[in-house]
């Protein structure tokens, strides 16, 4: 007996319980119609990605807001709102041609004026990582409604990698000009130019998107509706997948330890693609200001003391790849030819002995605090694993627990010895990697800055030159050099390139098509 029969038995109206009629009609090639049910957790505070860049906001808002470019899995630019673009040989002038007939959800046309207004005015105010790049724009011109020309103050190669919809979402100028962007009442309607528009948001329950009829790409969107359900409890999210109530999951929706079991479900495929742009890089942060962590031999010893392969398999259920250094293999300019640190308790002990850190009568060489990063259940287990691993070489870890706000505060204020950190690479080492190691970014109170306090003038110089170099060959050479120095110095102990499982209903097509995966517009997604 299922729910419907049970309801009938009790004499209840079964219509409301019969599930969602998909209403799918087969068109040429791709199927039209249908409702995509998926999960969002935690629930975002608002939907305007230009104003709030918390992860769930970006996932949901990607359907509402678009940007000039998209990126394939190798981070090569492909058309977004711009159908073509040109970079001048001196690397200073970028010219974009927009597709014609792009409209916002309120029916007004999107023009080059909206692009310039958003990128040079709004994002400069509201987008912490966007403004680092867009502050380099010296001049923005709109010779006609479909052409945008940006002139940079000096060459900055990653400019072309910063135009995805999580970094440069375009807002309507006619709604935001002259207002306080954060307090604009129109934020509630979240008016963008994406293939879906907001129909209803029942806070605490779900966000309901329907198709934007005036969308400019022919045929898109294929789906009629997308529903993001807020399901705060991990076990309930697992049930939602098992029962087929949702057709897609992303990021940490499914706890790592549930992945092996749920992967056996016949109606889902599991893919870890679509995180190439963010390329979440996980490491153990060692506060370089505190003895004995100021000695590179100690940090190298930690690198040798951890069986990272076992940790990846047992704690993260194989969802990731061992990191070899500061740059992820998914990011541009990765170089695998660097020094490697194998798992060896003996090498670790030898390094510690060499620096004169002898074990006391209780076998402990040093006692350090480990601040557990509370972003996932797996991190707590990983902390216990590390405590055991480092205990074997005489490094005693005292585990400290807190919530996300407490962690952020302590970590940003350098009030920690060791902690886990997960940092996005944002497609280019100049954007997502340099910030962790350059000494000009040692800033107390700021997360994702150079919190470890590592400082090396040579590293500073190489990162600086690589950011402004115009040829890819030159940049590769500089980044290869910097990778070799950093891997020798071990400012932080790199662990994994973290993967996230997307459970995707097998009927769905084109869900993961770009380097930002589930954050993409979903205009091309269809049932079959």
């Amino acid at each position: 007996m299922n729910r419907r029969e049970f309801a009938k038995l009790l004499g209840l109206s079964a219509t409301a319980l019969s599930g969602v009629p998909l209403g799918i009609a087969r068109a040429t090639g791709q199927t039209r119609g249908g409702t995509l049910n998926t999960i969002i957790q935690p629930e975002p505070p608002i939907l305007v990605t230009a104003i709030n860049q918390q992860q769930p906001t970006l996932t949901v808002g990607g359907k509402l807001y678009e940007s000039l470019l998209r990126y394939d899995f190798d981070l090569k630019p492909i058309p977004g709102l711009a159908k073509s673009w040109e970079v001048s040989p001196d690397g200073l002038t970028y010219t974009f041609k927009l597709f014609p007939n792009i409209t916002f959800h309120d029916g007004k046309p999107l023009t080059s004026e909206d692009v310039i207004f958003t990128m040079t005015k709004v994002l400069m105010e509201t987008h912490a990582r966007g403004r680092v790049t867009f502050a380099r724009i010296a001049k923005a011109e709109a010779p006609d409604p479909l052409t945008v020309i940006f002139t940079l103050k000096s060459p900055f190669a990653p400019f072309l990698t910063s135009l995805d919809c999580t970094t440069a979402p375009i807002l309507p100028k006619h709604i935001y000009e002259g207002t306080d962007y954060r307090k604009n009442p129109a934020n509630a309607q979240a008016i963008g130019c994406g293939p879906f528009k907001l129909k209803e948001w029942v806070k605490g329950s779900h966000i309901h998107f329907v198709r934007h009829e005036g969308y400019h790409r022919p045929g898109e969107p294929y789906l009629d509706e997308i529903i993001y359900r807020a399901i705060p409890d991990g076990a309930s999210r697992t049930v939602a997948v098992e029962q087929g109530k949702v057709q897609l999951t992303q990021w940490g929706d499914i706890e790592f330890f549930e992945v092996p079991r749920l992967s056996k479900l016949p109606n889902y495929e599991v893919s870890t693609k679509g995180y190439e742009f963010f390329a979440p890089h996980q490491w153990i942060e060692l506060n370089n200001r505190i003895k004995p962590m100021d000695d590179k031999r100690f940090r190298q010893a930690v690198m040798h003391a951890i069986d990272r392969k076992a940790m990846l398999q047992r704690i993260y259920f194989g969802l990731g790849k061992l990191a070899t250094g500061p740059i992820s293999s998914k990011t541009r300019f990765y170089d695998k030819n660097v020094k490697t640190y194998d798992y060896s308790v003996d090498k670790a002990k030898a390094l510690l002995d060499e620096m004169g850190l002898k074990p006391g009568p209780d076998g402990k060489r040093v006692t350090l605090r480990y601040l557990i990063s509370p972003v996932s259940e797996a991190n707590t287990r990983a902390a216990e694993f590390l405590r055991q691993s480092l205990g074997r070489v005489g490094i005693d870890l005292q585990l400290q627990t807190t919530d996300i706000a407490g962690w952020a505060q302590k970590f940003a204020d350098w009030d920690y010895d060791m902690t886990a950190n997960l940092v996005y690479q944002f497609g280019d080492p100049a954007l997502g990697v340099a910030r962790t190691y350059i000494s000009s970014n040692i800033k107390k109170g700021i997360l994702f800055s150079n919190t470890a306090g590592y400082s090396n003038p040579e590293v500073d110089r190489l990162f600086e030159e690589a950011a402004v170099a115009t040829s890819d060959d030159k940049r590769q050479e500089l980044y290869s050099q910097v990778q070799r120095i950093l891997v020798e110095d071990v400012p932080v102990v790199w662990t994994f390139e973290q993967d996230y499982p997307n459970f995707i209903d097998k009927r769905l097509k084109n869900v993961l098509s770009t380097a930002i995966g589930v954050h993409e517009t979903f205009g091309a997604v269809s049932f079959g």
């Binding site: 299922n2 729910r3 049970f6 309801a7 209840l12 109206s13 219509t15 409301a16 319980l17 599930g19 969602v20 009629p21 049910n37 935690p42 505070p45 608002i46 709030n52 860049q53 992860q55 105010e125 912490a128 990582r129 403004r131 954060r182 307090k183 934020n187 509630a188 029942v202 806070k203 605490g204 329950s205 779900h206 509706e225 359900r229 807020a230 705060p232 409890d233 076990a235 309930s236 049930v239 098992e242 029962q243 109530k245 963010f278 807190t402 919530d403 996300i404 706000a405 407490g406 962690w407 952020a408 302590k410 940003a412 940092v423 996005y424 944002f426 109170g445 700021i446 997360l447 994702f448």
Partner: protein
Amino acid sequence: MTAVSVDAKGDRVFAIALALAGWVIKFIAVVLVIATFNFILVHAAPGDPAQVIAGQSGASDEKLLAQLRAEYGLDKPYPIQLATYLKRVVTLDLGYSYRQQRTVASLILERLPATLLLTATAFSLALLSGIILGTLAGVRAGKWSDTVLTVVSLLLYATPVFWLGLMLVLLFSVQLDWLPAFGYVTIGVPMTALQRMVDIGWHLILPAVSLAAVYLAIYTRLMRSSVLDVTHQDFIKTAKAKGLKQGRIIIRHILRNAMLPIVTVAGMQAGALVGGAVVIETVFAWPGLGRLIYDALLQRDYPVLLGVFLVMSVIVIALNLLTDAIYRVIDPRVSVRAAS
């Protein structure tokens, strides 16, 4: 109308007004003390909303933190923040959540119905079944049916509420597929008002039963011992001697007297029930106040957190008053004593 009677009436009106004024002043004082205490507690936790937003955005800079802290008024010293907050409380202004871009009052009003529906259902369910089961156990004390009820209620009492919720989901949603596992209504299906009500009721069953379980156990055990107490008193023997039927004795004589401790405990626990809803609302994705508190706490959304705490304190004070009133209805001696 004589001058004397006007004076007497005036005196009485004055006395009542004085009592009311005293009560209002006490109420305001209690609320202000609670508000101050809440403020200190909430700000004692490490971290602030700006750091949380930075932490979940994967990037941060000085400008972002400064902007957010200024919006929340966190750039001012604590005493000034507290004074601003208390001034708002007095003027019944719950404040504005910059995070959610909404007034706190609208956020609470939006979530309150769901929580009231859930807790009221669970509370009635627990109270009603607790009284019935406890009475049954009490009048059959020592028999096997009493033993079964006592053991089951003990088990329920010892079960963590989230675990029970998950187990019920596993049984009724995953295995049997009879009841929805989460949410408060089927989303994306056009429904008439009646269908919608039925659908919400359908979603309500599992969370309400899970939330009710622990309280049901408490009331059953309490009622059982209370019934046992009353059964051995002289007036029951008298009733039996008069030749009254068993059913009539239970309803008219035992129940009415045995109810008093239940009402006291239930009154105190109605507040705790709202707290228990935090866990159940999370497990069942029920869009109520409990979830709002939990999210606000993790995000350090101070205005929302303080607003919900304040509203809940007021609800608890109101419920205590209601308990007093019910006490008088059930036990006439209370008002007699109060009057004399």
